[in-house]
Amino acid sequence: MCTTCGCGSGEVKIDGDDHHHGHEHVHADGTRHSHDHAHDADEGHDHAHDHAPGHRYAPVHSHASLAHSHAPGLGAKRMVQIEQDILAKNNAYAAQNRQRLAERGIFTLNLVSSPGSGKTTLLCKTIQMLKGKASVAVIEGDQQTSQDAERIRATGAPAIQINTGKGCHLDAHMVGHAMEKLALADASLLMIENVGNLVCPAAFDLGEAHKVVILSVTEGEDKPIKYPDMFRAATLMLLNKCDLLPYLNFKVDAAIEFARRVNPGIEVIQLSATSGQGMDDWLAWIERGSALAAEPTAVAAEARAGVR
């Protein structure tokens, strides 16, 4: 991405659109230039600059000699205080998203899990059950293909696919762009299905109200302590595929105990998107959150009406 994420800047596509970002370099001689670049994961982030003819700064660009020298004559060394969070840029975009969502009373959930936990099936089922009750829009994150967005659209809900390319998580900047493209209704529900990955999405705030972590009972019950950052970042854990419990050795109590060890305050709902068990609890949880999120809009609307 363009700001904090190093895992594949030129590769991000939001529903088919290339999302290219350049970055600016300040060189040792004080010149600056910007460029776009893409790279393969195996190349790392070390990229060669092509300073072939046509490069604006080519004549004064003593990259190789100056930048690599620590020779005297470069001026006295001094200390500069930065004191900034490494994720500050992402967090700033996230704060912007959160503000935009709050102003419109949109309740936003960031759904995170390993691949194959049943996120998309759960989303489809949730949308079907909310039909006529709430307006739902979905942002889908995957490395490749728009298959998930198509599955969501088949339920009638608007969905937009972000392909992160080689990226392992969604970031707040991509989500901000996707929000612009989706026609979000006031006081609606926005579900963001993150890339299936229990590691990196934990650190990237997207501007959501809550992270919801989905653990399916076909996985190990010790996942919460194997991937503690994600379970610590989540407000709610959905224990999915509970209809399969009779066929498995999964210990529900142990899974919940592990999750609470990492995050004593985490809420837990046991459900199955396939059989429908527990879905009412999940929908009730969403409804409570939506009502809270929509409140400021109602107050704002009243205030507007009062002024008139």
Binding site: G44, H45, A67, R78, V80, Q84, I86, P224
Partner: protein, 113 residues
């Protein structure tokens, strides 16, 4: 966790600072990395060198300031040291712990020329 992304974030901040504060070379970078931040220091050092190459911080020395993990034990009602996010209270053995410190990932300061 994803040290490559984080190293890119560090470079971004260095480049922003270079524009704002008018410096041309960075010779050392101090990062504050909490024990509970999920950042692998060795991986960070590796990624840092790769990401800084060809930038104004090419070859810069990386110094890591590790901050200890601390948590609030709900049983003991006090702040205690924590070595893992799912750690137990060294006083009472409870897991009813809320992390209170050691999750920092900050660019502290730079040595510039």
């Amino acid at each position: 966790m994803h040290e490559m992304s984080l190293a890119e974030g560090v470079l971004q901040q260095i480049e922003d600072a270079a524009r704002a504060l008018q410096f041309e070379r960075v010779t050392a970078v101090w990062l504050e990395i909490g024990q509970l931040s999920g950042v692998e220091v060795e991986a960070m050092k590796f990624c840092f060198d790769a990401v800084m190459r060809d930038s104004i911080a090419d070859g810069a020395r990386l110094e890591i300031l590790a901050t200890p993990g601390t948590g609030w034990c709900m049983q003991c009602s006090m702040t205690v040291p924590m070595s893992e996010v799912f750690g137990e209270c060294p006083q009472c053995g409870s897991h009813q712990m809320q992390v209170t410190g050691g999750t920092e990932m900050r660019v502290k300061e730079l040595e510039v020329a």
